[in-house]
């Protein structure tokens, strides 16, 4: 089953065609990599899926829902969650609150249910938050302000917050940036755990150690165009890809 399907999507910023006629799909339970040199349109693609800015043409669908014209929070309700290249947490709030805010009761269901979620701490949401903090080894930091966490912890918290909204599709924008080899291993294990929860993952990443070991399929972008798609080991041997990265 296709979770995300992107068809003929283009986005122009002034004179630069950031994304050029892109086709991309993510299937259920799949971890798809999106790689390419700097400025090849990877982050733009993620931003288009989240609705940070509108696309010029083409269509993006989550299952059967056309995302065109939907606000960012509506896309989140449909099941898209993301992390950011530059960490964006709610710095003044505690670790626990950061995750709590994204829990799904907020904005889903009947009006009374929505209203209730604003005033009451439902047992279900408390359990969901605690579970996520456990999964990301943040339980002992629960009451610390997010801005006082270390870099690695902030990255983990961002992932926990993204999962709190019970997404169908998780977009990871360079989650391994600045991590050492051991941390990359941990991240890989966590991404597998996310997949085991039934969530599809689209991973934008420069760290090849992660991309080659975690993804089922890789798409390679260069100057906004898709130049290759395939299994990790096939991509490694692809001449076009090598040219894009290292020059001919």
């Amino acid at each position: 089953m296709t979770v995300l399907s992107i068809k003929n999507v283009s986005k122009r910023f002034g004179g630069v065609l950031a994304v050029d006629d892109l086709d991309l799909t993510v299937d259920k339970g799949e971890i798809v990599g999106l790689i390419g040199p700097n400025g090849s349109g990877k982050s733009t693609t993620i931003n288009l899926i989240c609705g940070v800015f509108p696309m010029d043409k083409g269509s993006i669908k989550l299952f059967d829902n056309d995302l065109k014209g939907l606000a960012r929070y509506e896309r989140s309700h449909l099941g898209i969650a993301r992390t950011y290249q530059n960490i964006r947490l709610f710095g003044g709030l505690t670790v626990w609150q950061n995750v709590w805010i994204a829990t799904r009761q907020n904005g889903i269901g009947s009006f009374a249910k929505k209203l209730g979620a604003l005033f009451l701490r439902s047992q279900k949401s408390v359990e969901a938050v605690d579970e996520l903090l456990d999964l990301f080894a943040l339980q002992n930091k629960a009451n610390i302000a997010a801005e006082n966490l270390s870099f690695g912890e902030q990255r983990r918290l961002e992932l926990a917050r993204a999962l709190a909204s019970e997404p169908k599709l998780l977009l990871l924008d360079e989650p391994a940036a600045g991590m050492n080899s051991e941390e990359v291993q941990e991240l890989r294990d966590r991404i597998f755990k996310v997949r085991d929860l039934g969530i599809s993952v689209l991973l934008v990443e420069h760290v090849m150690e992660l991309v080659m070991n975690v993804t089922d399929r890789i798409n390679v972008l260069n100057f906004g165009k898709k130049i290759a798609e395939g299994k990790p080991n096939a991509i490694q041997g692809n001449a076009l890809v090598q040219e894009a990265y290292f020059g001919s």
Binding site: C50, V52, A71, R72, Y73, R75, S76, H77, A81, R82, Y84, R88, L89, F90, G91, G92, L93, Q97, N98, W100, I101, A102, R104, N106, G107, A117, L118, F119, L120, R121, A145, R161, A164, S165
Partner: protein, 302 residues
Amino acid sequence: MEYYFGILQTLGFHVLLGYSAYILLLTGQLSLAQVGFFAIGAYASGILTVLFEWHIFPALFIGAIAAGCMAFMVGFPALRIKGLMLVIATIAFSEIVRLIFFNLRWRFEINGLEVGPDGAQGFREIRYFAANGWEIYEIVWLIWTMVAVATILLWWLDQIKAGAILRAIGSDELAAESSGINVTSVKIVAMACGGVIAGLSGGLYAHSTTYVDHNTFTVLLATFAVSYPLVGGLKSVFGTLAAVIFIQGILIEGLRFLGDYRTILFGALIILVMNFKPKGIVDENFVKGISEYLRLNKKLIK
């Protein structure tokens, strides 16, 4: 004694006005429209008790709701813009409100006396309290009950998800929206709540002073309103309360002999706070310090 009751009244209006700006500042919006809502509350409830001879409580209630509805309507266009533009737009709104009341003349005879707003002359006959035999301490009691209720509600806000959502928006709008929060509607609701509190404050003000005119509702008052939460810090609602007592109680009332120079001191205070305590006086370290101090005292007593 009268004098001190007078000061307590003034502090009460300013605390509520500060709270109305505090709610919006939690979402990261700096609004100078609070004085406009304050004016609407003052005139609306004044007109109801004077011209329609209502009881004070429904009049205050309708005044607050009227200001809240106005805030709700202003919220739609105003909260699509940000930063400096929002500041300018809200100043413009407050000036429009002020000029409407400057030109509002709606007088007719009640019990053989012509009463009502009289344009540039102001609205002079809001004598509900005197006419119904309220003692001054009863008025102070009413005002501070309202302040206490508002303080408790705003404190409670920080214990529930709604408060966390407001602060999340103030911290990072994009991340908040991508986490599934409808940022625009939350901001508009915050604006409306701020409008209700400012309108309530205006109604209390009008009835306590018995007289309002357009000169009260200037940009200076709007600046005071936003300066309380900024000086006091957004960490907790008590920061705003402390800032009002400090600025209005000590700086403005205590140093009365300095005359208009106090406004310069107010300006200097804002500059000092912005430079040395950008998160306000009641920031994290302050809260930590106080709680450690209290813990220390407990130990000593034991």
